[in-house]
């Protein structure tokens, strides 16, 4: 089946999968968003424990999606994997550090003899939720702003700046996406709490938080969209693969591929509708609308950066070293083999959905959290 597809079709197929994974990952980062809200949405220790336990039952999904995202990039676009991870060394290490401290925090926080004390683990969760999200936003933003690398004739990467990725922190425009992501994941985190925790005081505070955060989110998001659509874009000639700059290339892509623009708009509207329903109609189920909206929006942005002869990882040092889905992908055979493995994805999503449904049929309550018969975080 996949063998008959051209290499370019497989590259597009895998970029769609990467974009989907990217979208799912941003959605699942409601866990990170929720982690930044632990103090804000609770007034008692029991309430905080309810919030932690609610998130703790999902933290593994975030890790897994990140691992899969990394593995899929490694296999499908190995030149990007080598370039970005090897080059922007400190940026990625910062992200990884924030995830290490998250992994242990849920399980260790309340356990006696935990060495560092509960507050430290809560701080770890906060750092992962805030700094981790901002650093990830900056890393993704380099898809648009570029990075300082060259590729030699062995296809080995050379980074041009000694700060090894930290220079991305000095680019103010990268913060537009970073903060938009931070406020978005806080909003979705709030919607997750609304859906998962049956406790009115938390729900009241959560709705107020969502109302505030949508106000913070919009300027950053609109600023990011404006910047991306109006900036010069990197494009390549499909025949020669020569890279050049084109005015407003990302906007052109949305115009030339209207289904992407539609996907993007539908996604944004779904998030806004979810916010409206959560705040003004006191609905508790909006995580699903917001989740689908987030996945569609992020997917549309990533597809925009990968399709229509666009460079998805521009080099600000050497234009011709820039990476597109064409010059950075795996071979035809590997992409084909991987495509067969990808057929398992719907089954994986189905059992995750079923497990989520089975576990969340009964909402978290104060009684459950204080019961000694239950496993707690």
């Amino acid at each position: 089946m996949f063998e008959t597809l051209s290499l370019h079709s497989l590259q597009v197929y895998w970029w769609i999968i990467i974009s989907l994974l990217g979208g799912l990952f941003v959605f699942i980062m409601f866990i990170q968003g929720g982690q930044t809200l632990l103090n804000q949405l609770s007034t008692t220790d029991d309430e905080k424990t309810m919030l932690v336990n609610s998130l703790g039952r999902k933290w593994e999904l975030g890790f897994t999606t990140l691992v899969l995202f990394g593995g899929a990039l490694f296999a499908a676009f190995p030149k990007f994997y080598a370039t970005s991870f090897g080059g922007a060394y400190w940026l990625w290490l910062g992200i990884l550090f924030s995830f290490i401290i998250q992994a242990v925090s849920y399980e260790y926080r309340k356990k006696e003899g935990n060495l560092l004390g509960s507050k430290t683990y809560e701080t770890f969760l906060y750092i992962n939720g805030s700094v981790g999200t901002i650093l990830l936003g900056i890393a993704i933003s380099t898809f648009f702003s570029g990075a300082s690398f060259t590729i030699d004739d062995n296809n080995f990467v050379h980074w041009s700046i000694a700060t090894r990725g930290l220079e991305a922190l000095m680019e103010p425009l990268n913060y537009l996406l970073a903060f938009a992501m931070l406020f978005l994941v806080r909003i979705i985190g709030g919607m997750y709490f609304l859906n998962n925790i049956d406790h009115e005081p938390i729900r009241t505070r959560t709705r107020l938080m969502i109302k505030r955060n949508i106000i913070y989110f919009l300027p950053f998001f609109l600023g990011f969209v404006g910047w991306v659509l109006l900036k010069e874009g990197y494009t390549y000639d499909p025949e020669t693969l020569k890279v050049s700059m084109v005015s407003m290339h990302h906007l052109t892509t949305f115009i030339e591929l209207p289904y992407l623009a539609g996907m993007f708009l539908v996604g944004v509207v779904m998030v806004l509708v979810a916010v409206f329903n959560s705040v003004f109609r006191a609905k508790n189920c909006c995580i699903f609308t917001a989740g689908i909206g987030t996945v569609l929006t992020v997917m549309a942005l990533l597809l925009n950066v990968g399709l229509n002869h666009t460079i998805f990882y521009p080099s600000s040092t050497d234009l011709q070293s820039s990476l597109s889905i064409v010059n950075s992908s795996g071979s035809h055979y590997t992409l084909t083999a991987m495509s067969y493995a990808s057929l398992m994805v719907p089954f994986v999503l189905a059992y995750i959905a079923y497990v989520w449904y089975a576990m969340d049929r009964v909402k978290i309550t104060q009684e459950e959290i204080t019961s000694s018969d239950e496993h707690h975080y």
Binding site: F74, K79, G86, Y89, I100, A103, N154, N155, A341, E374
Partner: protein, 508 residues
């Protein structure tokens, strides 16, 4: 590339892997033991078994989190610290990692929540299924990462593409079902099961010694010791197959494992020996100060034939015409031809000289099996650190033998309902927990140190694989990781000890 950078990059990866390997083997073993215990609970309906299951499950969870965290770091360290490697083999190596994510890791993580929080939310049978699926997912996950590692030890199923300057996959099944990968997987998960079993019987022994939850501890001991005995026997078989594969594909590693310098027919295994550090390749100094040998055993282990010739390090470095073994110097020469042919190909391509391209491509194909040798400086570069490989191998084998004896004794005494009287055995059982870890880490050292200098056997030495980065960056990140992992390890041990002190019935 600077030696300092390479050494720090290796040290950092070794650090992460060593820590990772402290947590993951226990997870692999304990997940099955917990699943067995829960199965007994579901079958018998005896609430005591539920209490026992929950206790071990809690210890599993404490350990699991940090195993996941170090695993994530390892995946991304391929990119951060070994960027050149990532490109050179990403087309092959990335695929098992991605499949691991799709097929295994999601299964593990999705059902993990049910296993811990679903006792009163889903049916008994669905909960039991989830516990088994966590175990299966963990082990599937290990399979795919060991397939990737197995490929580095024995690269198959690929072709080198001079246009992209990388190896490209030609046959997925050759990679996934490579005999080295299968042997490696079976032996590694076997060692994890043994650690899990040692952990269960060791902690149970401590409880019996302290007269706490004695009935529950004895029940745990029966499950742990039975499981441990079975997997120990399996470990001998998988170890034999592993050594057989090493002899076929990595004879230098086998020679280093045994401190075997001069090739011999009917070669024996050194049961006990102290290496002479003055021994050099090609000299006549005896490699050991003293040794006890088991005759014929190395020939049998390596080739399943007691008469087989087992090449020594002298033969592999200097060559042995009689047995058709090529010298490392000759391989280095051929490797240099391959490297030059690649360069010539690139130049010809730039000037669009089709004839020259075709000639250099042909030459490259012929000498590609030696490609990595082209980056070595001298023949002895192919020899890994012998002392570390030798002692690690012997420690692993000696401890493996001890574990079988221990499981037999513990199982017999527990079944005879007599274990409480044998306090020395109980103490020995407790102190065997760290021995399990030592054995597993030693095995990992044999596998990874023993294959040096290769990142990918014969194709890429570690010196070429590392990211082009200033060594200071890697040095700083090494110490940051070392600090963080150590703090988390101490925290984990303290939490584990506290949880164990509560006892099986003490809550969770």
């Amino acid at each position: 590339m600077q030696t300092e950078l390479i050494d720090w990059s290796r040290a950092q990866f070794a650090l992460t892997a060593l820590y990772h390997f402290l947590f993951v083997p226990l997870t692999l073993g304990l997940s099955f033991i917990v699943a067995i215990m829960e199965t007994i609970y579901v079958k018998t309906g005896d609430a005591k078994w539920k209490t026992i299951t929950k206790f071990w499950m809690t210890l599993f969870a404490i350990n699991f989190a940090i195993g996941v965290a170090t695993g994530l770091i390892m995946e991304f360290e391929f990119g951060t610290n070994w960027a050149n490697y990532s490109w050179f083999v990403g087309d092959i190596f990335g695929a098992p990692l991605a499949v691991e994510g799709i097929l295994a890791f999601f299964m593990e993580s999705a059902f993990f929540a049910v296993m811990f929080f679903g006792w009163n939310k889903v049916s008994k049978s669905f909960h039991l299924l989830s516990t088994w699926l966590v175990a299966v997912g963990s082990n599937l996950s290990a399979f795919w990462i060991l397939v990737a590692n197995g490929w580095m030890q024995y690269p198959v199923g690929m072709e080198f593409n001079p246009d992209t300057v990388r190896n490209e996959m030609a046959n997925f099944w050759d990679v996934a079902l490579s005999p080295v990968a299968i042997a490696k997987f079976l032996h590694t998960i076997g060692s994890g099961y043994v650690i899990g079993a040692l952990f269960v019987i060791g902690i149970s022994a401590w409880m019996i010694l302290k007269k706490r939850d004695v009935l529950e501890a004895k029940r745990s001991m029966v499950v742990g010791a039975s499981f441990g005995l079975l997997v120990s026997i399996f470990l001998i078989l998988s170890g034999d197959e592993s050594a057989h594969q090493v002899a076929q594909q990595q004879p230098v590693k086998l020679a280093a494992m045994e401190g075997h310098y001069k090739g011999l027919k009917r070669a024996g295994i050194i049961a006990v020996g102290i290496l002479n550090p003055d021994k050099k390749i090609g000299d006549d100094i005896h490699p050991f100060y003293g040794d006890i040998e088991i005759p014929y055993a190395l020939s049998f282990l390596g080739y399943h034939d007691i008469d087989a010739f087992v090449p020594g390090l002298d033969d592999l470095v200097l060559g042995n015409e009689e047995y058709g073994i090529e010298s490392a110097a000759s391989k280095i020469e051929k490797g240099k031809i391959a490297v030059k042919a690649l360069q010539a190909y690139k130049e010809a391509k730039q000037s669009d000289d089709q004839t020259a391209m075709s000639e250099s491509r042909k030459l490259l194909k012929e000498y590609m099996p030696y490609f990595g040798y082209g980056y070595l400086e001298k023949p002895t570069d192919i020899v890994p650190p012998i002392a570390l490989t030798f002692y690690s191998f012997h420690i692993m084998v000696a401890l493996g033998t001890w574990f079988i004896i221990l499981f037999l004794i513990v199982l017999y005494l527990t079944m005879a309902n007599d274990i409480t009287r044998f306090r020395k055995i109980l103490w020995l059982t407790l102190w065997s927990i760290p021995l399990g870890y030592i054995a597993a880490e030693a095995g990992w050292i044999v596998a990874e140190v023993g294959r040096q200098p290769w990142a990918i056997q014969d194709l890429m030495p570690v010196g070429i694989a590392a990211t082009h980065i200033d060594a200071g960056n890697v040095q700083v990140s090494f110490w940051l990781f070392a600090l963080l992992f150590t703090v988390l390890l101490i925290a984990e041990i303290k939490i584990m000890l506290r949880q164990i002190a509560y006892g099986i019935k003490g809550g969770h």
